[in-house]
Amino acid sequence: MTQVSVVQPPHIAVWLLDLFITEKQRESIHGDLFEEFSGLASKSGVVSARRWYWRQSLKTIAHADTGFRAAPLRIAGAVLLGLLLLWVGFPLPGRAILAIVVRYRYRFQGAGVPARFIGVVCVPLAIQIGTVIVAMSVGCVVAVAAKGAEMIATMMLSLALSALAVLAHLDLMWVMLHLPYYFFLLQHEVVFLAFSSIAIVIAGVIIRMSRSSAAYRFSGA
């Protein structure tokens, strides 16, 4: 047995591919790529074979819209549900945290926490963390609803959120362009939006990976 026969394809490429291909394609695409990779590794060397595997994986991911075409209504429905949940859910952390601050303000003051520190640092940070948690939860719901196309659905939701946020903050951009002093306002919004969008996609990755591992366990049993 030669050493080449135990060479494995790049793990990150395999993982990425696994996130995007459909359940039906998983076994055959992984098997086909592994078969060709092993042949190439023994013929042209491991480096060349790994480069080929990466190229094939990325091109295959580019065809991941197949998942959307297979169930466009379910995915579109999941994304719309996600937008609705974000619309309902985004104000909740702010309301909850402000209610807590108002209710326990005397205790904070008694503990010697400066009111300005609470108002300028703690409250905005807590609201942002809460909003990112809401975004991640909504991402999980959308990924579960878009069974088999978790990544496409959560990426679409993330893009839709970004597009809507840009439209909603056009006024802020106008202010920023004319009053550069308020640049921090836009920075704050961009950071918040970026974290929320990333959280939605991470939720898609988590649900997809848990489903994949469950499928492997089931097929291995």
Partner: protein, 110 residues
């Protein structure tokens, strides 16, 4: 006549590759056959996306083989062209022939 009656360019190529390969048609061989004949790099994702679309239209059928060690213990998915697929290839050929009839393509290229 609906657009589904004809095959798209890549669909056409994939069905012809499956027909040429016969019983040996699965992802790897179909991809390699297309690369060999067309001299262009094709991704396995493009092949499966097209084969799944053709299967949904009823033009090809697939079946799983046994898992093999050279595939890391995974099964091959074999494809064969259904009668509707052969009919679609014939219709597409007839249309292409009809469209090219009378055109002096060979003379123009030479």
């Amino acid at each position: 006549m609906s657009s589904r009656d004809f095959l798209g360019e890549f669909e056409h190529i994939v069905v012809l590759a499956v027909l040429r390969l016969g019983d040996r048609a699965y992802g790897v061989t179909v991809r390699q056959e297309i690369e060999f004949r067309t001299k262009r790099e094709v991704s396995i994702g493009a092949v499966y996306a097209t084969l799944d679309r053709l299967e949904a239209k009823g033009y090809v059928k697939s079946s799983l083989g046994d898992p093999t060690p050279e595939r890391g213990g995974r099964s091959k998915r074999f494809f064969h062209v259904a009668a509707e697929g052969v009919a679609a290839v014939n219709r597409t050929h007839r249309v292409l022939q009809s469209m090219t009839e009378g055109l002096k393509l060979v003379e123009r290229n030479s």
